[in-house]
């Protein structure tokens, strides 16, 4: 998996481009569930099996799209009914961008079991090692700043 800074930047830019600058304050309200969705596949698995390696085979399924879907559905039930549906959609969208970026990572052992529980086949494009994502963090942050600047200038022009 790439680091969560790269995930955040990639997902944020994707969401901003999709949103086309319509939302002014992107880091508040129900939008925050989008970022929770971005982190969800990793924060429910990595810290657990890094600290307790023996749990790997019990919890790695949480890093699969189907499990994420049901986890988001479960989490959405703990949200106010007035924003439950939007929170759910935001979490799913965030998780979607997470899996998309994961697909670009080169790996030796599998990580992208998109068809679980029907198959353990590992999908992906094998383009960059996780370490490359870490080294590219300054570039990602520059891209983020550039995107935000363009959106800000475009909104001022309107």
């Amino acid at each position: 998996m790439p680091d969560l800074i790269s995930h955040t930047v990639f997902s944020h830019i994707t969401a901003r481009l999709y949103d086309r600058g319509r939302t002014k304050n992107f880091l508040s309200g129900v939008r925050l569930f989008f970022y929770l969705g971005v982190f969800l596949p990793d924060i429910t698995t990595r810290p657990v099996y890094i600290i307790f390696p023996a749990t790997h085979n019990w919890i790695i399924f949480l890093h699969t799209p189907l499990a994420t879907l049901f986890l988001c559905l479960l989490l959405a039930q703990a949200v106010h009914p007035g924003m439950r549906r939007r929170a759910f959609v935001n979490m799913i969208a965030g998780a979607g961008t997470h899996y998309l970026l994961d697909a670009f990572q080169k790996q030796i052992t599998g990580n992208n079991f998109w068809l679980f529980p029907f198959s353990w086949h590992n999908f992906g494009f094998d383009i960059m090692w996780a370490g490359t994502f870490v080294r590219l963090i300054p570039v990602s942050l520059l891209l983020l700043a550039g995107t935000e600047t363009v959106i800000y200038l475009a909104s001022k022009r309107k």
Binding site: D3, L4, Y35, P53, F61, F70, A78, I108, T109, W129
Partner: protein, 146 residues
């Protein structure tokens, strides 16, 4: 009612997926190989528990795991550094060693882990600033000013 149904369905599905995950996963680890060396002779081992490079030799290194036994791994050691995390695909031999097929040192893994904590903390702060937990109805709701 709908809320309860969705909660029960998702919990049950997640439990079943977890059980299916545990009993159907295709990975063999070093501990299983060491326990049944004849059975797993020639098998590909892809699952290691937080593997690190131990003592380095000319023709390989001692593979250490956070959980599970250490084992001798034969591979090209060019560029490898003791103590670093490593990604491995290897063939097990019943004599009690691994033959590296694909070995890649993950030199930035520690940085990756610690850098990943930053956005999680930021999101947690934003959540606390924007939402509060309503214990009466047991759900997260927006704070009045958010």
């Amino acid at each position: 009612m709908k809320r309860l149904v969705y909660s029960i369905i998702s919990t049950v599905v997640l439990l079943f997926l977890g059980l299916y995950n545990y009993y159907s996963h295709p990975w063999i680890d070093v501990a299983a190989c060491m326990e049944h060396p004849d059975l797993y002779d020639g098998s590909i081992v892809q699952q290691f528990h937080e593997p690190r490079i131990g003592e380095l030799f000319e023709d390989g290194f001692m593979l250490q795991q956070k959980h599970g036994p250490s084992i001798r791994l034969y591979t090209d050691t060019t560029g490898l550094v003791r103590g670093k995390s490593v990604g491995i695909k290897a063939r097990f031999h019943k004599q009690g060693y691994l033959e590296g097929i694909d070995v890649k040192m993950a030199g930035t893994r520690q940085y990756k882990i610690w850098l990943s904590v930053i956005p999680v903390i930021v999101l947690a702060v934003l959540f606390i600033r924007n939402f509060r937990f309503n214990f009466k109805h047991f759900y997260i709701e927006k704070k009045p000013h958010a």
